[in-house]
Symmetry: C3
Subunit: 243 residues, 3 copies
Amino acid sequence: MIVLFTDFGFNGPYLGQMKAVIWQQAPQLPIIDLFADVPVHNPRASAWLLASYSDAFPTGTVFLAVVDPGVGSAARRPAIVRADGRWYVGPDNGLFNVVAGRAAELDAWHVGWQPERLSASFHGRDLFAPLAAQLALGGMPEAGLLERYDSETWPGELFEVIYVDHFGNLITGVRASSLDSRISLRIGDITVPRARTFSDVALGAPLCYENANGLLEIAVNQGRADEYFEFGVGVGEPVYPAP
Amino acid sequence: MIVLFTDFGFNGPYLGQMKAVIWQQAPQLPIIDLFADVPVHNPRASAWLLASYSDAFPTGTVFLAVVDPGVGSAARRPAIVRADGRWYVGPDNGLFNVVAGRAAELDAWHVGWQPERLSASFHGRDLFAPLAAQLALGGMPEAGLLERYDSETWPGELFEVIYVDHFGNLITGVRASSLDSRISLRIGDITVPRARTFSDVALGAPLCYENANGLLEIAVNQGRADEYFEFGVGVGEPVYPAP
Amino acid sequence: MIVLFTDFGFNGPYLGQMKAVIWQQAPQLPIIDLFADVPVHNPRASAWLLASYSDAFPTGTVFLAVVDPGVGSAARRPAIVRADGRWYVGPDNGLFNVVAGRAAELDAWHVGWQPERLSASFHGRDLFAPLAAQLALGGMPEAGLLERYDSETWPGELFEVIYVDHFGNLITGVRASSLDSRISLRIGDITVPRARTFSDVALGAPLCYENANGLLEIAVNQGRADEYFEFGVGVGEPVYPAP
C-alpha cells in the first residue's frame, strides 16, 4: 500500500500524474490519499502531521511524502527512511525528522538514482513515485546508489497549530499522552476547557480534546474553531499548556 | 462496492483513514467517493441527498454514510439499515429517515458491537468503516449484537436548497416527479422559469429543471445560481411551487 | 486505464457517479482523476490543458473528457477521437482540437448511440462514461453508429493563462519548446525573468520556467503568483513573449 502525503492539492493534475506513474509500474497497487493539503511549503509543520498520522498504518506501508520548496536545487537530497517497519520516500528537508525521532528502529539513505527524464520541478512524479512503487513491490533501489546517513531527529511535541481541517478544527502538534489529562491548552489569552468529545460542551462552545490520532485539538461544538477566536488563527499559531 | 457519503471534506486525512481500514479488511474492494461535502453537521439536508443519490446504485451496495454532530455521546446509536436491497451504515440521527420513507422493503438494526479501540470523535473510521467492510464482504455483524428497531420515516419532499454544487447550481429536496411538469419553483420573490436543460434559456439566465437524479434544481446558463440572486442563497433557503 | 478530465469539481457527486457506471461495466479498471477543475464552461482553455497533460500517458489510455456547457442541446454532438493511439471521448465542442492539431495519426467519429436512459444535463455519466468503459475494454461502439468526420484542429500555442494551480502558479498554453530558451514571458507590463526552477530566484521573487509538462509557467518562489501582481490575474490573462 502506498500512502500519498503532499502539499500538491487535490485539485490540479499532480496526484493523478503520480498515480499514473505508480500504476504503470505496479498495476492494482492500492493507493491511499491521506493528505494532499498539508501546509504549503512547510516541511516543519508537515513533519509533525506525518509522524502522527502514519503510525496507525501497518508495517510495510510506503509513504510517498513530498513537501518540497527546494525541489530542483542541488542542496536538497532525496531520501528513503525506514522507521519501525514503515517506509518513507521524499526530500531530506526535515519532513522525516519527527518520524525519525519517535522510531525505535531507524534506517536512512540518500538516493543517488535518477530517472532518465527528471523535470526540475516535479520530483514527486519523476523521482519519488518510481521509488515508492519499487519499495511497495518489495524491491530496494540498487545498493550502490544508496548512501546511508544519520537521520536528524526532532523533539516530540510542537506547541503550534499544524493543520486546520474541513470543520475548522485546529489540530496541534502536541500528543495528548505527553501532558497530564487535566492539562488543557491556551490559545491567545483564552484557555480552552478540556473535554472528551464535542457534545460534552454546550452548542457553540470551544473545547480541547484528544483527537482520534492522539493529538490535542481545539474545536467548537457544531461550529468552526478557525472563526471562533477574535484574533485570526491558522497554521503556526502557538498554543500553551494550561492547568 | 462501498460508497462514501460524509461531511468530512475531501481535504484532510479522514477519507484516506477510512479507506485504509476498509482495504485492510477487504483488499481490492471498490470504494466510490460519492459526497465528502454534504452540509456540515446537517443530517436533515443530508438525508434527502442520500435518498436521491443512492437509489441508482445496484442492490448490494453498502453506503458508509456519516454526518454525525453527536459522535461520542451516549444518545446517538449506530445503525444498519437495509432498504430495497441496499445497505446503509452510520449514525441513527435522522440521516436514513428519507431512505426509509421511500423504501418498499425495510429493515433496521441498532449495533451493539464495538471495536477494541474506539475513539471518541471518529466513529467513521473506528466503528462504521469495519461494519461497512464486513457487510460488503457479504457478512453480517453477529446477530446477538444487533437489536432490530422501527426506523423513523420522513416525508417525501423537502422544499429547501439541500446542496450547492461546483457550478453554483442549487439542488433542492423536491423530486420533479412530485409536481406537475408545468410547475416551477419560486426562490425569494423570483419565479424561475422551468426548462429542460441549460441551453434552453439565454446565456446568463436562470432556469429550474429536473436534474440528472430527478431533483428540481435551479441553475444559470453558463453562470452561477448561488451568486445570481441579490439575497444570499445557500443550503436551507426555502423554495416554493410556482404555477 | 481511464483518465477523468472535467470541470465537474472534486466536490459533489459527479465523479463518483461516473466511476460507479464505469466499474459496473468494467470492474477493477484503473481510473485516474487527472483534472476535475479545468476552467468551468471553458472548452477552449481546457483544450490546451488536455493536449499538454495527456501526451505523457501510454497508448491505449482512454480520456473521458467533459467540459460541456452545451450539454443536452441538439447542436452539440458526442465525439470519439483517436490521436496517436490514445482515445478521447467527450463533446465535439473544440475540446479535442488541440489534441487533433498535434497528432501525427488522427481519427474522429461522431457517435449516434444513445443509452436507454439519457438525462438532459449529465452526459458525462449517461453517455460518455459507458463509451469510455467500452473503449477501455478494447471494444469499439458499433461501427454503424459512428460517423467519421474531419476533426477541426487549432494552432499550437495559446498565449494566455489556462490554469491556476493549488500553489497559485499560472500555467500558460505556451510550450517552452516553441520559443528560444532565452525568451521569457511578459504579463501585464511586467517581464518575468526566465529560470530553471523555483530556488534559482530569491525567496518571494517571480520566475518563468518550463514546467514538468513542457509548458511555460509563472510562479513565485515559495509564494503565490496569483496574488503577486497588482492587477488581478486568472485564467484568460494574456501573456507575451519577451526577449
